[in-house]
């Protein structure tokens, strides 16, 4: 168990005063795998990242990296690199100086430093920007410099804190696949933190959903989407969110908007409240006896006067009314 490669968290816990920020997290990430920590604010994802980086001390549990127990090792000696949400580039230094500082402090000789920096600048297409200060770079460029600095660390673990949140929507869509390809090529485990499910699904091989410091479920995006472990995961993933039908007999039933179909008859009668056109699709807000329903369908779908909806039994998800766990 202790000689396996990659990252292993065992019962990782952090308590501050009365509050438990992270409660006995167990997680394993393979080399070359990209894992997203997903959840609402305050769920413990940034806490986990900071514990892995060594910026905060753990209250309990162990962290093993490539078989090495790094739980109590200081941040600078873990060979872990992190890209911060604000990128944290040194504002008073040029791009090259930003990249060089860490190498110099770690004792890398000058010629070797120059070589490695040139290599990473080429990799991230930052040539020509060497002498600029961070304030003179665009958001996307700053992200790449931050990535370059992290890669130069030659880390055994790469951590990213909301890597896309400082970029506007268009840039995000553009850079997401590039970032993913880059991280895969690097070959070490990558963990990134995000509250944006689209980013998680686009960048990660697996997703770990956290809520209130407790791990809810970990798996591929498809597993989490189609077979959520509990109500929280089911509601967190998917945009627009899953429809919750009126609970009956202690069972909470739910159906995703794209699984609802409009049928001429034999279904649940509904009344159209509002209609949102989204280009290729349209989103319908429908009133029914079982509650408010969202339906996602083709934009060209004609809408009659009396609408009825239906869904396949295997598309319906059922959860225990009190615990929220999914029922098979």
């Amino acid at each position: 168990m202790s000689h396996t490669a990659g990252l292993h968290c065992e019962q990782l816990t952090r308590r501050v005063g009365e509050r438990c920020l992270l409660d006995r997290l167990n997680l394993a990430v393979e080399p070359g795998e990209s894992l997203a920590l997903l959840g609402p604010s305050g769920c413990g994802k940034t806490t986990t990242l900071r514990l892995l980086a060594g910026l905060d001390p753990a209250s309990g549990g162990r962290i093993r990296l490539d078989g090495d127990d790094i739980t109590t090792r200081p941040a600078g000696q873990r060979q872990v690199a992190m890209v911060f949400q604000s990128y944290a580039l040194y504002p008073h230094l040029s791009v090259v100086a930003n990249l060089e500082l860490g190498l110099e402090v770690r004792g890398v000789p000058a010629a070797e430093r120059r070589r490695r920096i040139a290599e990473v600048l080429a990799l991230l297409q930052l040539e020509g920007l060497e002498l600029r200060r961070p304030a003179q770079l665009s958001g996307g460029q700053r992200q790449r410099v931050a990535l370059a600095r992290a890669l130069l660390r030659q880390p055994r673990l790469m951590l990213l804190d909301e890597p896309m949140s400082n970029l506007d929507a268009q840039l995000r869509d553009q850079l997401r696949p590039e970032l993913r390809a880059l991280l895969q090529r690097a070959g070490h485990p990558v963990i990134h933190v995000t509250h944006d499910q689209q980013e998680a699904m686009g960048l990660a091989d697996r997703i770990a959903v956290l809520d209130g410091g407790v791990l809810q479920q970990v798996g591929t995006p498809q597993e989490l989407y189609h077979r959520p472990a509990n109500l929280f995961v089911a509601r967190f993933l998917g945009r627009p969110g899953i429809n919750l039908l009126r609970p009956e007999a202690g069972v909470q039933r739910a159906v995703r908007p794209e699984h609802l179909q409009l049928v001429p008859d034999g279904g649940l009668p509904v009344r159209l409240q509002q209609r949102e056109w989204q280009g290729a699709q349209q989103l319908l807000r429908l009133e029914s006896d079982l509650g408010l329903l969202l339906l996602l369908c083709d934009a060209a779908q004609p809408l009659g006067d009396a609408l009825q909806v239906q869904w396949r039994a295997e598309d319906e998800l059922r959860f225990d009314g009190s615990s929220g766990q999914r029922l098979e």
């Binding site: 872990v80 949400q85 604000s86 040194y90 008073h92 500082l101 402090v105």
Partner: protein, 273 residues
């Protein structure tokens, strides 16, 4: 600029400058010319003798400026040496402790330090520091520390936390982080603090008065006071004025050059204090 602003502005500038300009005027007049009255008196009696008198005195006037500069530099250096790590440490404390210490420091910064001179004098005599110019740097640093620590702590607080985290992950230890990342970014605040400490030590009177008695070791304020008390019957106001002008010149230069740092130091201190 509005119509009311200009005359008010000129009045404010005049109010600040008039006493000094009058000293300049007086310093160029002979002793006889100073006691003359009437409009015609202004056509004669101009001289540079007053300056010659002051500059050739024993000890020469520039000696006092040198002494003040030496003490100023030593105090500023010592204060910064102690205040920078203290400010860093203070910023890293829990909010409760940080607040309590900041309040104590604020109270100390406001304290009328003239009250302290007797006990400090006793200490100086006991330790044999009387007439040791550079020894003054110790009480001066002690008196300047509260304000310096408060100002620098506020400056540290302004730096983004993630910056230091990033440096830690890169393997920089505390000294390296301070030197390569934090202090360069703090340079403006350090400059402001330094100039304020320097000004304070140039201005300090009661402690310099009691610790130093040798004429050639006097700092500027004490030398001026001695000059002021020196003659009782004659009216050597021309020479007095020349001394005033010469004493004011270095500070005038300092204020002109560092005006921005002084203003930002005081205004930042007020906002964050």
């Amino acid at each position: 600029m509005s119509r009311t602003s200009l005359p008010l502005l000129l009045a404010a500038l005049g109010w600040s400058l008039m006493p000094l300009l009058w000293q300049l005027l007086t310093s160029l007049r002979t002793a006889e010319a100073l006691v003359l009255q009437g409009a015609g008196a202004w056509l004669q009696g101009w001289t540079l003798d007053n300056y010659r008198l002051v500059l050739q005195g024993d000890p020469p006037f520039w000696r006092y400026l040198l002494n003040s500069s030496l003490v100023g530099a030593a105090s500023t250096g010592l204060t910064l040496l102690l205040a920078i790590p203290a400010a860093y440490g203070l910023q890293r404390q829990r909010p409760a402790l940080r607040g309590a210490l900041s309040l104590a420091l604020l109270a100390a910064a406001m304290f009328p330090y003239v009250l302290l001179f007797l006990a400090l004098l006793e200490l100086a005599r006991a330790l044999g520091w009387g007439n040791q110019l550079l020894a003054l740097a110790l009480p001066y640093a002690g008196l300047s520390l509260p304000l310096a620590v408060l100002l620098l702590r506020a400056a540290f607080a302004d730096l983004p936390e993630e910056l230091e985290d990033a440096a830690r992950l890169e393997g920089l230890n505390l000294w390296q982080r301070l030197r390569r990342v934090l202090l360069p970014l703090l340079a403006p605040a350090i400059a402001s603090t330094a100039i304020l400490v320097f000004l304070f030590s140039w201005n300090e009177y009661p402690i310099a008065l009691t610790w130093i008695s040798r004429a050639d070791l006097l700092t500027l304020p004490v030398a001026m006071a001695r000059i002021a008390g020196s003659s009782v019957y004659a009216v050597p106001y021309g020479a007095f004025a020349a001394a005033t002008v010469l004493g004011a010149l270095p500070l005038l230069a300092l204020v002109l050059v560092f005006q921005r740092q002084i203003v930002s130091g005081l205004t930042q201190g007020a906002v964050k204090g």
